[in-house]
Symmetry: C2
Subunit: 229 residues, 2 copies
DNA sequence: TGATGTGAAGCGGTTCACAGCC
DNA sequence: GGCTGTGAACCGCTTCACATCA
Protein backbone atom coordinates (compact mmCIF):
# COMPACT_ATOMS: atom_id res chain seq x y z
CA UNK A 1 0.00 0.00 0.00
CA UNK A 2 2.83 2.34 0.83
CA UNK A 3 4.86 2.66 -2.34
CA UNK A 4 7.79 4.01 -0.37
CA UNK A 5 11.16 2.33 -0.38
CA UNK A 6 10.57 0.00 -3.29
CA UNK A 7 13.82 -1.67 -4.21
CA UNK A 8 15.08 -1.77 -7.73
CA UNK A 9 15.00 -5.56 -7.75
CA UNK A 10 11.30 -5.30 -7.06
CA UNK A 11 10.60 -2.82 -9.86
CA UNK A 12 12.60 -4.96 -12.26
CA UNK A 13 10.52 -7.94 -11.33
CA UNK A 14 7.26 -6.03 -11.69
CA UNK A 15 8.23 -5.46 -15.28
CA UNK A 16 8.81 -9.17 -15.72
CA UNK A 17 5.52 -10.10 -14.05
CA UNK A 18 3.73 -7.86 -16.50
CA UNK A 19 5.46 -9.53 -19.41
CA UNK A 20 4.53 -12.98 -18.12
CA UNK A 21 0.95 -11.96 -17.47
CA UNK A 22 0.61 -10.76 -21.03
CA UNK A 23 1.77 -14.16 -22.23
CA UNK A 24 -0.80 -15.80 -19.98
CA UNK A 25 -3.50 -13.46 -21.22
CA UNK A 26 -2.61 -14.33 -24.80
CA UNK A 27 -3.08 -17.99 -23.94
CA UNK A 28 -6.66 -17.23 -22.99
CA UNK A 29 -6.57 -17.82 -19.23
CA UNK A 30 -8.46 -15.29 -17.16
CA UNK A 31 -7.12 -16.20 -13.77
CA UNK A 32 -3.74 -17.36 -12.52
CA UNK A 33 -2.12 -18.26 -9.21
CA UNK A 34 1.31 -17.09 -8.13
CA UNK A 35 2.45 -20.69 -8.07
CA UNK A 36 1.31 -21.38 -11.62
CA UNK A 37 3.06 -18.24 -12.88
CA UNK A 38 6.18 -19.13 -10.96
CA UNK A 39 6.27 -22.63 -12.38
CA UNK A 40 5.70 -21.52 -15.95
CA UNK A 41 8.24 -18.70 -15.98
CA UNK A 42 10.55 -19.93 -13.24
CA UNK A 43 9.91 -17.12 -10.82
CA UNK A 44 9.49 -17.37 -7.07
CA UNK A 45 5.86 -17.38 -5.99
CA UNK A 46 6.41 -16.03 -2.48
CA UNK A 47 8.53 -13.25 -3.81
CA UNK A 48 5.93 -12.32 -6.36
CA UNK A 49 3.22 -12.14 -3.73
CA UNK A 50 5.45 -10.02 -1.55
CA UNK A 51 6.34 -7.70 -4.42
CA UNK A 52 2.68 -7.16 -5.25
CA UNK A 53 1.78 -6.66 -1.61
CA UNK A 54 3.74 -3.40 -1.58
CA UNK A 55 1.08 -1.92 -3.80
CA UNK A 56 -2.16 -3.47 -2.65
CA UNK A 57 -4.14 -6.67 -2.36
CA UNK A 58 -4.80 -7.72 -5.90
CA UNK A 59 -5.45 -11.41 -5.39
CA UNK A 60 -8.33 -13.51 -4.18
CA UNK A 61 -7.50 -16.12 -1.57
CA UNK A 62 -8.10 -19.64 -2.72
CA UNK A 63 -8.32 -18.50 -6.31
CA UNK A 64 -5.39 -16.42 -7.46
CA UNK A 65 -5.22 -13.26 -9.51
CA UNK A 66 -7.40 -12.02 -12.32
CA UNK A 67 -5.02 -11.79 -15.26
CA UNK A 68 -6.60 -8.68 -16.74
CA UNK A 69 -6.94 -6.65 -13.58
CA UNK A 70 -3.42 -7.50 -12.44
CA UNK A 71 -2.12 -6.44 -15.86
CA UNK A 72 -3.93 -3.15 -15.50
CA UNK A 73 -2.59 -2.60 -12.01
CA UNK A 74 0.99 -3.34 -13.01
CA UNK A 75 0.71 -1.14 -16.07
CA UNK A 76 -0.42 1.73 -13.90
CA UNK A 77 2.14 1.07 -11.17
CA UNK A 78 4.95 1.08 -13.72
CA UNK A 79 3.62 4.26 -15.26
CA UNK A 80 3.11 2.57 -18.60
CA UNK A 81 -0.41 3.91 -18.99
CA UNK A 82 1.04 7.27 -20.04
CA UNK A 83 3.27 7.92 -23.01
CA UNK A 84 6.86 8.86 -22.22
CA UNK A 85 8.97 10.87 -24.62
CA UNK A 86 12.57 9.90 -25.10
CA UNK A 87 15.67 11.58 -26.49
CA UNK A 88 18.69 9.57 -27.54
CA UNK A 89 22.07 11.24 -27.21
CA UNK A 90 24.53 10.07 -29.84
CA UNK A 91 23.64 8.92 -33.35
CA UNK A 92 26.34 6.28 -33.65
CA UNK A 93 25.70 2.58 -34.15
CA UNK A 94 24.16 2.07 -30.77
CA UNK A 95 22.05 5.22 -30.77
CA UNK A 96 20.56 4.47 -34.16
CA UNK A 97 19.95 0.85 -33.25
CA UNK A 98 18.05 1.99 -30.17
CA UNK A 99 16.11 4.60 -32.15
CA UNK A 100 14.01 1.93 -33.74
CA UNK A 101 14.12 -0.60 -30.97
CA UNK A 102 10.70 -2.15 -30.87
CA UNK A 103 10.71 -2.41 -27.10
CA UNK A 104 10.38 1.35 -26.77
CA UNK A 105 7.10 1.43 -28.62
CA UNK A 106 5.80 -1.63 -26.88
CA UNK A 107 6.34 -0.04 -23.50
CA UNK A 108 4.65 3.21 -24.49
CA UNK A 109 7.87 5.13 -25.00
CA UNK A 110 8.25 7.38 -28.03
CA UNK A 111 11.67 8.30 -29.32
CA UNK A 112 11.29 11.93 -30.26
CA UNK A 113 14.77 12.69 -31.55
CA UNK A 114 18.40 11.70 -31.74
CA UNK A 115 21.00 14.31 -30.84
CA UNK A 116 24.53 14.53 -32.14
CA UNK A 117 27.10 17.19 -32.85
CA UNK A 118 28.46 15.65 -36.03
CA UNK A 119 27.53 17.93 -38.96
CA UNK A 120 27.40 14.88 -41.23
CA UNK A 121 24.70 13.25 -39.19
CA UNK A 122 22.55 16.23 -38.27
CA UNK A 123 19.51 16.44 -40.50
CA UNK A 124 19.47 12.76 -41.45
CA UNK A 125 16.72 10.40 -40.40
CA UNK A 126 16.70 7.01 -38.75
CA UNK A 127 13.35 5.57 -39.68
CA UNK A 128 10.90 8.17 -38.43
CA UNK A 129 13.32 9.86 -36.11
CA UNK A 130 15.35 12.94 -37.03
CA UNK A 131 18.92 13.58 -35.95
CA UNK A 132 19.09 17.04 -34.41
CA UNK A 133 21.92 19.32 -33.40
CA UNK A 134 22.92 18.72 -29.81
CA UNK A 135 23.01 22.49 -29.35
CA UNK A 136 19.23 22.58 -29.54
CA UNK A 137 18.79 19.87 -26.96
CA UNK A 138 17.53 21.91 -24.01
CA UNK A 139 15.07 23.81 -26.14
CA UNK A 140 13.72 20.63 -27.72
CA UNK A 141 13.29 18.99 -24.33
CA UNK A 142 11.06 21.84 -23.23
CA UNK A 143 9.12 22.02 -26.46
CA UNK A 144 8.54 18.29 -26.87
CA UNK A 145 8.10 17.45 -23.22
CA UNK A 146 10.90 14.91 -23.17
CA UNK A 147 11.09 13.01 -19.89
CA UNK A 148 13.78 10.44 -20.48
CA UNK A 149 17.23 10.49 -22.08
CA UNK A 150 19.42 7.68 -23.31
CA UNK A 151 23.18 8.18 -23.35
CA UNK A 152 24.76 6.44 -26.34
CA UNK A 153 27.91 8.52 -26.74
CA UNK A 154 31.53 7.52 -26.11
CA UNK A 155 32.64 7.28 -22.49
CA UNK A 156 34.86 10.33 -22.88
CA UNK A 157 31.95 12.73 -23.30
CA UNK A 158 29.34 10.85 -21.29
CA UNK A 159 29.76 12.94 -18.14
CA UNK A 160 29.36 16.20 -20.07
CA UNK A 161 26.30 14.94 -21.89
CA UNK A 162 24.84 13.71 -18.62
CA UNK A 163 25.21 17.15 -17.08
CA UNK A 164 23.47 18.72 -20.05
CA UNK A 165 20.65 16.26 -19.62
CA UNK A 166 20.23 17.06 -15.94
CA UNK A 167 20.46 20.76 -16.66
CA UNK A 168 17.62 20.40 -19.15
CA UNK A 169 15.43 19.10 -16.33
CA UNK A 170 15.24 15.44 -17.28
CA UNK A 171 14.77 13.11 -14.32
CA UNK A 172 15.38 9.65 -15.81
CA UNK A 173 18.47 8.58 -17.71
CA UNK A 174 19.52 5.29 -19.25
CA UNK A 175 23.28 5.22 -19.74
CA UNK A 176 25.09 2.88 -22.13
CA UNK A 177 28.50 4.53 -21.86
CA UNK A 178 31.05 2.53 -19.88
CA UNK A 179 31.64 5.30 -17.39
CA UNK A 180 30.69 5.92 -13.79
CA UNK A 181 28.65 9.08 -14.02
CA UNK A 182 28.56 11.45 -11.10
CA UNK A 183 25.19 12.80 -10.25
CA UNK A 184 24.93 16.03 -8.38
CA UNK A 185 21.24 16.14 -7.62
CA UNK A 186 19.87 12.86 -6.40
CA UNK A 187 16.33 13.33 -7.63
CA UNK A 188 17.54 12.10 -10.98
CA UNK A 189 17.29 8.37 -11.64
CA UNK A 190 20.30 7.04 -13.48
CA UNK A 191 20.42 3.49 -14.75
CA UNK A 192 23.60 2.26 -16.35
CA UNK A 193 23.81 -0.68 -18.72
CA UNK A 194 27.49 -1.45 -18.91
CA UNK A 195 28.24 -3.88 -21.72
CA UNK A 196 31.95 -3.92 -20.98
CA UNK A 197 31.32 -5.00 -17.42
CA UNK A 198 28.81 -7.65 -18.50
CA UNK A 199 31.27 -8.99 -21.00
CA UNK A 200 34.19 -9.04 -18.61
CA UNK A 201 32.07 -10.74 -16.02
CA UNK A 202 31.42 -13.51 -18.52
CA UNK A 203 35.11 -13.64 -19.29
CA UNK A 204 35.78 -14.14 -15.59
CA UNK A 205 33.43 -17.09 -15.62
CA UNK A 206 35.20 -18.60 -18.63
CA UNK A 207 38.53 -18.18 -16.87
CA UNK A 208 37.37 -20.21 -13.87
CA UNK A 209 38.34 -23.88 -13.54
CA UNK A 210 34.70 -24.85 -14.27
CA UNK A 211 34.52 -27.10 -11.25
CA UNK A 212 30.76 -27.20 -10.87
CA UNK A 213 28.90 -30.30 -11.94
CA UNK A 214 25.39 -29.53 -12.96
CA UNK A 215 23.64 -32.55 -11.50
CA UNK A 216 23.77 -32.27 -7.73
CA UNK A 217 21.77 -29.13 -7.13
CA UNK A 218 18.43 -28.56 -5.51
CA UNK A 219 15.81 -28.75 -8.19
CA UNK A 220 12.38 -27.82 -6.96
CA UNK A 221 10.07 -24.97 -7.83
CA UNK A 222 12.99 -22.64 -7.96
CA UNK A 223 14.66 -23.89 -11.09
CA UNK A 224 16.72 -20.96 -12.34
CA UNK A 225 17.96 -18.01 -10.43
CA UNK A 226 15.88 -14.88 -10.31
CA UNK A 227 16.20 -12.93 -13.51
CA UNK A 228 16.02 -9.43 -12.14
CA UNK A 229 19.10 -7.92 -10.65
CA UNK B 1 43.02 -16.46 -2.01
CA UNK B 2 40.20 -18.90 -2.58
CA UNK B 3 38.51 -17.81 -5.76
CA UNK B 4 35.50 -19.87 -4.84
CA UNK B 5 32.06 -18.37 -4.41
CA UNK B 6 32.78 -15.01 -5.95
CA UNK B 7 29.57 -13.04 -6.24
CA UNK B 8 28.54 -11.41 -9.45
CA UNK B 9 28.57 -7.99 -7.80
CA UNK B 10 32.22 -8.57 -7.07
CA UNK B 11 33.14 -9.58 -10.62
CA UNK B 12 31.27 -6.58 -11.97
CA UNK B 13 33.26 -4.34 -9.69
CA UNK B 14 36.55 -5.96 -10.63
CA UNK B 15 35.85 -4.88 -14.17
CA UNK B 16 35.22 -1.36 -12.98
CA UNK B 17 38.38 -1.29 -10.86
CA UNK B 18 40.35 -2.25 -13.93
CA UNK B 19 38.80 0.55 -15.90
CA UNK B 20 39.59 3.06 -13.17
CA UNK B 21 43.14 1.82 -12.81
CA UNK B 22 43.73 2.29 -16.51
CA UNK B 23 42.59 5.87 -16.17
CA UNK B 24 44.98 6.34 -13.26
CA UNK B 25 47.80 4.72 -15.23
CA UNK B 26 47.13 7.09 -18.11
CA UNK B 27 47.47 10.01 -15.72
CA UNK B 28 50.98 8.85 -14.94
CA UNK B 29 50.67 7.74 -11.34
CA UNK B 30 52.43 4.50 -10.46
CA UNK B 31 50.88 3.86 -7.10
CA UNK B 32 47.40 4.41 -5.70
CA UNK B 33 45.57 3.80 -2.43
CA UNK B 34 42.11 2.32 -2.20
CA UNK B 35 40.91 5.55 -0.63
CA UNK B 36 42.27 7.69 -3.46
CA UNK B 37 40.64 5.47 -6.06
CA UNK B 38 37.39 5.48 -4.16
CA UNK B 39 37.35 9.25 -3.90
CA UNK B 40 38.16 9.81 -7.55
CA UNK B 41 35.66 7.33 -8.98
CA UNK B 42 33.18 7.27 -6.13
CA UNK B 43 33.70 3.69 -5.15
CA UNK B 44 33.86 2.25 -1.66
CA UNK B 45 37.43 1.73 -0.45
CA UNK B 46 36.68 -1.02 2.08
CA UNK B 47 34.67 -2.88 -0.48
CA UNK B 48 37.46 -2.66 -3.02
CA UNK B 49 39.99 -4.03 -0.56
CA UNK B 50 37.65 -6.85 0.33
CA UNK B 51 36.98 -7.67 -3.33
CA UNK B 52 40.68 -7.84 -4.06
CA UNK B 53 41.34 -9.89 -0.95
CA UNK B 54 39.42 -12.79 -2.47
CA UNK B 55 42.26 -13.20 -4.94
CA UNK B 56 45.40 -12.38 -3.02
CA UNK B 57 47.30 -9.67 -1.21
CA UNK B 58 48.18 -7.18 -3.89
CA UNK B 59 48.75 -4.10 -1.78
CA UNK B 60 51.51 -2.77 0.42
CA UNK B 61 50.49 -1.58 3.86
CA UNK B 62 51.12 2.07 4.39
CA UNK B 63 51.55 2.64 0.70
CA UNK B 64 48.74 1.32 -1.42
CA UNK B 65 48.75 -0.61 -4.69
CA UNK B 66 51.12 -0.53 -7.61
CA UNK B 67 48.95 0.59 -10.50
CA UNK B 68 50.66 -1.60 -13.09
CA UNK B 69 50.82 -4.82 -11.13
CA UNK B 70 47.23 -4.48 -9.97
CA UNK B 71 46.17 -3.92 -13.59
CA UNK B 72 47.98 -7.07 -14.57
CA UNK B 73 46.44 -9.07 -11.76
CA UNK B 74 42.92 -7.90 -12.58
CA UNK B 75 43.43 -8.55 -16.27
CA UNK B 76 44.46 -12.10 -15.51
CA UNK B 77 41.72 -12.65 -12.93
CA UNK B 78 39.08 -11.50 -15.41
CA UNK B 79 40.56 -13.71 -18.09
CA UNK B 80 41.27 -10.75 -20.33
CA UNK B 81 44.82 -11.85 -21.03
CA UNK B 82 43.49 -14.39 -23.51
CA UNK B 83 41.49 -13.63 -26.62
CA UNK B 84 37.86 -14.77 -26.56
CA UNK B 85 35.95 -15.48 -29.73
CA UNK B 86 32.36 -14.33 -29.98
CA UNK B 87 29.40 -15.18 -32.17
CA UNK B 88 26.42 -12.87 -32.45
CA UNK B 89 23.07 -14.46 -33.12
CA UNK B 90 20.76 -12.22 -35.11
CA UNK B 91 21.86 -9.66 -37.70
CA UNK B 92 19.16 -7.12 -36.98
CA UNK B 93 19.78 -3.58 -35.78
CA UNK B 94 21.09 -4.63 -32.42
CA UNK B 95 23.23 -7.48 -33.65
CA UNK B 96 24.92 -5.35 -36.26
CA UNK B 97 25.43 -2.51 -33.81
CA UNK B 98 27.12 -4.91 -31.43
CA UNK B 99 29.23 -6.41 -34.22
CA UNK B 100 31.39 -3.36 -34.34
CA UNK B 101 31.05 -2.29 -30.75
CA UNK B 102 34.42 -0.99 -29.74
CA UNK B 103 34.16 -2.41 -26.24
CA UNK B 104 34.52 -5.94 -27.58
CA UNK B 105 37.92 -5.27 -29.06
CA UNK B 106 39.06 -3.28 -26.07
CA UNK B 107 38.32 -6.18 -23.77
CA UNK B 108 40.10 -8.72 -25.97
CA UNK B 109 36.96 -10.16 -27.51
CA UNK B 110 36.84 -10.85 -31.22
CA UNK B 111 33.52 -11.06 -33.01
CA UNK B 112 34.03 -13.92 -35.44
CA UNK B 113 30.65 -13.98 -37.14
CA UNK B 114 27.02 -12.95 -37.12
CA UNK B 115 24.41 -15.65 -37.63
CA UNK B 116 20.97 -15.20 -39.12
CA UNK B 117 18.48 -17.26 -41.09
CA UNK B 118 17.31 -14.45 -43.35
CA UNK B 119 18.43 -15.24 -46.93
CA UNK B 120 18.69 -11.49 -47.59
CA UNK B 121 21.25 -10.98 -44.89
CA UNK B 122 23.37 -14.09 -45.23
CA UNK B 123 26.54 -13.33 -47.11
CA UNK B 124 26.59 -9.62 -46.36
CA UNK B 125 29.23 -8.00 -44.19
CA UNK B 126 29.10 -5.69 -41.21
CA UNK B 127 32.48 -4.04 -41.20
CA UNK B 128 34.88 -6.96 -41.06
CA UNK B 129 32.33 -9.47 -39.89
CA UNK B 130 30.42 -11.79 -42.18
CA UNK B 131 26.80 -12.79 -41.75
CA UNK B 132 26.58 -16.58 -41.90
CA UNK B 133 23.72 -19.02 -42.18
CA UNK B 134 22.49 -20.04 -38.75
CA UNK B 135 22.43 -23.62 -40.01
CA UNK B 136 26.20 -23.67 -39.97
CA UNK B 137 26.43 -22.37 -36.44
CA UNK B 138 27.53 -25.52 -34.61
CA UNK B 139 30.16 -26.34 -37.18
CA UNK B 140 31.56 -22.82 -37.12
CA UNK B 141 31.74 -22.82 -33.33
CA UNK B 142 33.93 -25.91 -33.45
CA UNK B 143 36.10 -24.68 -36.30
CA UNK B 144 36.64 -21.15 -34.98
CA UNK B 145 36.82 -22.03 -31.30
CA UNK B 146 33.99 -19.72 -30.34
CA UNK B 147 33.55 -19.44 -26.58
CA UNK B 148 30.86 -16.83 -26.17
CA UNK B 149 27.55 -16.12 -27.85
CA UNK B 150 25.38 -13.01 -27.88
CA UNK B 151 21.64 -13.39 -28.37
CA UNK B 152 20.25 -10.50 -30.40
CA UNK B 153 17.16 -12.15 -31.87
CA UNK B 154 13.48 -11.46 -31.11
CA UNK B 155 12.14 -12.81 -27.84
CA UNK B 156 10.00 -15.34 -29.67
CA UNK B 157 12.96 -17.37 -30.92
CA UNK B 158 15.41 -16.61 -28.11
CA UNK B 159 14.81 -19.86 -26.24
CA UNK B 160 15.38 -21.92 -29.36
CA UNK B 161 18.53 -20.05 -30.24
CA UNK B 162 19.75 -20.40 -26.68
CA UNK B 163 19.32 -24.16 -26.82
CA UNK B 164 21.28 -24.31 -30.06
CA UNK B 165 24.04 -22.34 -28.40
CA UNK B 166 24.23 -24.66 -25.43
CA UNK B 167 24.09 -27.69 -27.70
CA UNK B 168 27.09 -26.31 -29.58
CA UNK B 169 29.06 -26.41 -26.35
CA UNK B 170 29.27 -22.71 -25.58
CA UNK B 171 29.51 -21.89 -21.88
CA UNK B 172 28.96 -18.13 -21.73
CA UNK B 173 25.98 -16.29 -23.18
CA UNK B 174 24.98 -12.65 -23.19
CA UNK B 175 21.26 -12.32 -23.85
CA UNK B 176 19.57 -9.14 -25.09
CA UNK B 177 16.19 -10.68 -25.80
CA UNK B 178 13.47 -9.71 -23.33
CA UNK B 179 12.77 -13.29 -22.35
CA UNK B 180 13.47 -15.44 -19.31
CA UNK B 181 15.57 -18.21 -20.77
CA UNK B 182 15.50 -21.62 -19.19
CA UNK B 183 18.82 -23.26 -18.81
CA UNK B 184 19.03 -26.99 -18.52
CA UNK B 185 22.67 -27.47 -17.63
CA UNK B 186 23.91 -25.07 -15.02
CA UNK B 187 27.52 -24.99 -16.09
CA UNK B 188 26.51 -22.39 -18.64
CA UNK B 189 26.74 -18.78 -17.57
CA UNK B 190 23.84 -16.73 -18.85
CA UNK B 191 23.75 -13.00 -18.42
CA UNK B 192 20.67 -11.11 -19.53
CA UNK B 193 20.57 -7.44 -20.38
CA UNK B 194 16.91 -6.59 -20.47
CA UNK B 195 16.30 -3.19 -21.99
CA UNK B 196 12.56 -3.41 -21.56
CA UNK B 197 12.93 -4.00 -17.86
CA UNK B 198 15.45 -1.19 -17.49
CA UNK B 199 13.15 1.14 -19.32
CA UNK B 200 10.08 0.18 -17.36
CA UNK B 201 11.99 0.56 -14.14
CA UNK B 202 12.77 4.14 -15.13
CA UNK B 203 9.15 4.63 -16.01
CA UNK B 204 8.23 3.48 -12.51
CA UNK B 205 10.52 6.11 -11.08
CA UNK B 206 8.93 8.81 -13.23
CA UNK B 207 5.50 7.71 -12.08
CA UNK B 208 6.42 8.21 -8.41
CA UNK B 209 5.38 11.39 -6.57
CA UNK B 210 9.04 12.51 -6.57
CA UNK B 211 8.98 13.18 -2.85
CA UNK B 212 12.72 13.07 -2.24
CA UNK B 213 14.58 16.30 -1.67
CA UNK B 214 18.18 16.01 -2.68
CA UNK B 215 19.78 18.06 0.07
CA UNK B 216 19.41 16.14 3.31
CA UNK B 217 21.50 13.07 2.62
CA UNK B 218 24.73 11.85 4.08
CA UNK B 219 27.55 13.18 1.95
CA UNK B 220 30.88 11.75 2.93
CA UNK B 221 33.30 9.52 1.10
CA UNK B 222 30.44 7.52 -0.24
CA UNK B 223 28.94 10.02 -2.64
CA UNK B 224 27.04 7.96 -5.16
CA UNK B 225 25.76 4.48 -4.83
CA UNK B 226 27.87 1.62 -6.04
CA UNK B 227 27.68 1.20 -9.78
CA UNK B 228 27.73 -2.55 -10.01
CA UNK B 229 24.55 -4.44 -9.44
C1' DT C 1 52.35 7.28 10.44
C1' DG C 2 49.51 5.47 6.72
C1' DA C 3 47.10 2.15 4.28
C1' DT C 4 46.11 -2.77 3.90
C1' DG C 5 43.59 -6.94 5.15
C1' DT C 6 39.84 -8.77 7.88
C1' DG C 7 36.68 -10.32 11.79
C1' DA C 8 32.40 -8.62 13.30
C1' DA C 9 28.34 -5.92 13.05
C1' DG C 10 24.78 -4.19 10.24
C1' DC C 11 21.39 -4.20 6.79
C1' DG C 12 18.39 -5.27 3.05
C1' DG C 13 16.50 -8.59 0.25
C1' DT C 14 14.85 -13.48 -0.11
C1' DT C 15 12.69 -17.56 1.59
C1' DC C 16 9.91 -19.98 4.83
C1' DA C 17 5.80 -21.21 6.86
C1' DC C 18 1.42 -20.38 8.38
C1' DA C 19 -2.74 -17.70 9.71
C1' DG C 20 -6.55 -15.93 7.34
C1' DC C 21 -9.90 -15.75 3.90
C1' DC C 22 -12.41 -17.48 -0.40
C1' DG D 1 -9.26 -27.49 -0.04
C1' DG D 2 -6.60 -23.79 -2.17
C1' DC D 3 -4.15 -19.64 -2.43
C1' DT D 4 -3.12 -15.14 -0.74
C1' DG D 5 -0.80 -11.94 2.37
C1' DT D 6 2.75 -11.48 5.81
C1' DG D 7 5.61 -11.84 10.16
C1' DA D 8 9.75 -14.22 11.18
C1' DA D 9 13.91 -16.64 10.04
C1' DC D 10 17.50 -16.68 7.04
C1' DC D 11 21.20 -15.39 4.14
C1' DG D 12 24.67 -12.80 1.80
C1' DC D 13 26.55 -8.56 0.70
C1' DT D 14 28.16 -4.16 2.57
C1' DT D 15 30.17 -1.29 6.01
C1' DC D 16 32.67 -0.54 10.08
C1' DA D 17 36.55 -0.53 12.85
C1' DC D 18 40.85 -2.01 14.08
C1' DA D 19 44.88 -5.08 14.46
C1' DT D 20 48.75 -5.51 11.51
C1' DC D 21 52.53 -4.45 8.99
C1' DA D 22 55.88 -1.47 5.78
Amino acid sequence: MKSDKISESTTNRLSIYLRCLKAVAASGATTVSSKALADDFHLNSAQMRKDLAYFGEFGVRGLGYSVDTLCDHLTKILGLDKEHRVAIMGAGRLGTALADYYGFRRANFTVTALFDNDREKIGTRIGEVKVLDAKNFAATVKRDNIELAVIAVPASCAQMVFEDIVAAGIKAVLNFAPAALRKSSSDVKLKTVDLTTSLESLSFFLAQPAKQNSTNRKRKTKGGRNTAK
